[in-house]
Subunit: 324 residues, 2 copies
């Protein structure tokens, strides 16, 4: 591997001179003849700065730790892609670690600490696990100690209920895991109550691929008890439900309306295009990075919590309820 020393030797200058021309930013001025020569030699020797050495002395890595759960749900895969784009645009590197359980989260943060990341973006809700002293932004849940962007479920589900009731629906079910999606279940029940509706909740084992049993449970209900509209905790749950319904020859939206959450790409290409609500991923990741970089520049500014309320996007999976 070519080093600055090698270049300096060939060009008959000092390492400092090489550093100065290769990085631009320096008090040091180099004659343009030497400058060209250095540049040429660097190119010819296929020089790449050793970022480890650079970071060691500059005390920053220009690397952001991006810690997310494994992208087994398309939503995170899309988020990931948006982050990568943002990183590249800002000329920063990403230090990605993906977890599948709680132990992995700790592992991810430890790796980041060892790697001396300049900042962290994470979707894990427990701020106390975060390495101390590293600027961080938490995505998904509201925090008091750390900057966060959180889903405002009360407002989101107020809109959902408004939409569904405007379509005439009064028998509404929520399909989602009670454990990991408890806050959603609570919020939608609350939103329902305000419209005088008791939202029934159907827990399902996995949020990723909702267990068919939960969908089937709902679909096996006698017609008089069956909800006329189902709210999935996310698009994947909603999509799985639609597929379960379709394979039982229950039509969507004619027999039952379905609404999701996240607006993953798949929802657009589903057997029946899914009505859902989704973030503008580009904008959100921009905002996330803006916030993080502001925090990095000024570590003691007041903590912020930013509510996110994704826009409803109407497609084909919901329709007005006809009176029987």
């Amino acid at each position: 591997m070519t080093t600055m020393q090698d270049i300096a030797g060939k060009a008959n200058v000092s390492r400092a001179a090489v550093s100065a021309v290769l990085n631009g930013n320096s008090q040091i001025r180099v004659s343009s003849k030497k400058r060209e020569e250095i540049l040429a030699i660097a190119r010819q020797m296929n020089y790449r700065p050793n970022l480890l050495a650079r970071s060691l002395v500059s005390r920053n890595t220009r690397t952001i730790g991006i810690y997310l759960c494994a992208p087994t749900d398309m939503f995170y895969a899309e988020m990931l892609t948006a982050f990568q784009r943002e990183l590249k645009a800002r000329n920063y590197a990403g230090h990605f670690v993906f977890w599948e359980n709680l132990a992995d989260v700790q592992y991810a943060y430890d790796m980041g600490r060892g790697q001396r990341v300049d900042g962290i973006i994470t979707c894990h809700g427990d701020a106390s696990m975060l390495p101390a002293g590293v600027p961080a932004v938490i995505f998904g849940t509201k925090q008091s100690e750390v900057d966060s962007f959180f889903f405002d479920w009360d407002e989101i589900y107020r809109r959902y209920m408004e939409y569904l009731t405007s379509l005439g629906h009064r028998k509404i079910a929520f399909l989602g895991d009670e454990k990991t999606r408890g806050y959603q279940a609570v919020a939608i029940k609350k939103a329902g109550e305000k419209s005088g509706i008791s939202v029934m909740t159907v827990p399902c084992k996995s949020i990723r691929r909702m267990s068919l049993p939960a969908a089937n449970e709902l679909l096996s209900l006698p017609l008089s008890e069956r909800p006329t509209a189902v709210v999935g905790c996310n698009d994947v749950a909603a999509l799985t439900f639609i597929n379960a319904a379709l394979s039982r020859h229950i039509r969507v939206p004619e027999d039952i309306s379905v609404i999701g959450f996240d607006n993953i790409e798949e929802s657009l290409y589903s057997a029946v295009p899914l009505t859902t609500a989704g973030l503008d991923l580009k904008k959100v990741s921009e905002d996330l990075f803006d916030r993080l970089f502001a925090r990095m520049a000024q570590p003691d500014m007041p903590v912020t919590a930013t509510a996110m309320v994704p826009e409803l996007v109407e497609r084909a999976s919901c329709m007005p309820l006809y009176d029987d």
Copy 2:
């Protein structure tokens, strides 16, 4: 950030002693009293080694560059997850960069060079772009200069044709992008010829979310010309096709059989569970890493190319053709 110097100071020993007990591997012996003390202080001061400094001197980073296209297709997301697991099991870090176009590939490799990754796993087929001197394994396509794991399309499609013809199908279409999936199109045509079948090819703009138009083109064909079986270039294409068929009230598999490729999780939960073929991701990533580590240990061993032939998994989207 706590350094070894800090610990050494508190414990009244040298940095070398601290290094010795914290890393274990050293000629240096430390009295177990001192050892305990050092360990205690390190824990109490929340010490984390600076991996940059460590790598600078040890001349290895224990980091593998993982360079993949953006996981907008679930297959890569699943691959990614398998890699992360493998990395963790081997106590290595991942240097992930995801690309969306060719320029990004170069960027990814440059980042890896700067970061001094010990090895590379990539799914980009152009070996000439790889940084020289860094052990690498290419996933997906056969290479002559670099270790590779490639899909043996001839054998894969031989099996597909065998399967489909055993079901009685003779009118078969391939749904896939000609540009990026050209080798597949060629292979399936060849496999068809051996069975005396002319496979028709329907190109579609994107391999990611096959353009509905392509699916619709096929579905609009007069019944006499319509294929009885469709092979998707991947599961996503096959799934999109199924959804397009379903929404036109064309039944799968009764009216038309569909087979995919990749065996992504989604295929199991589709409206009609997809017959497909898929890699054992855990095994493949193990093999990939084994190969890479072998190459890292012995850079001049002969180059290998390993064929991959995923197992067919029969589900509900294919059925025997009845004679009319």
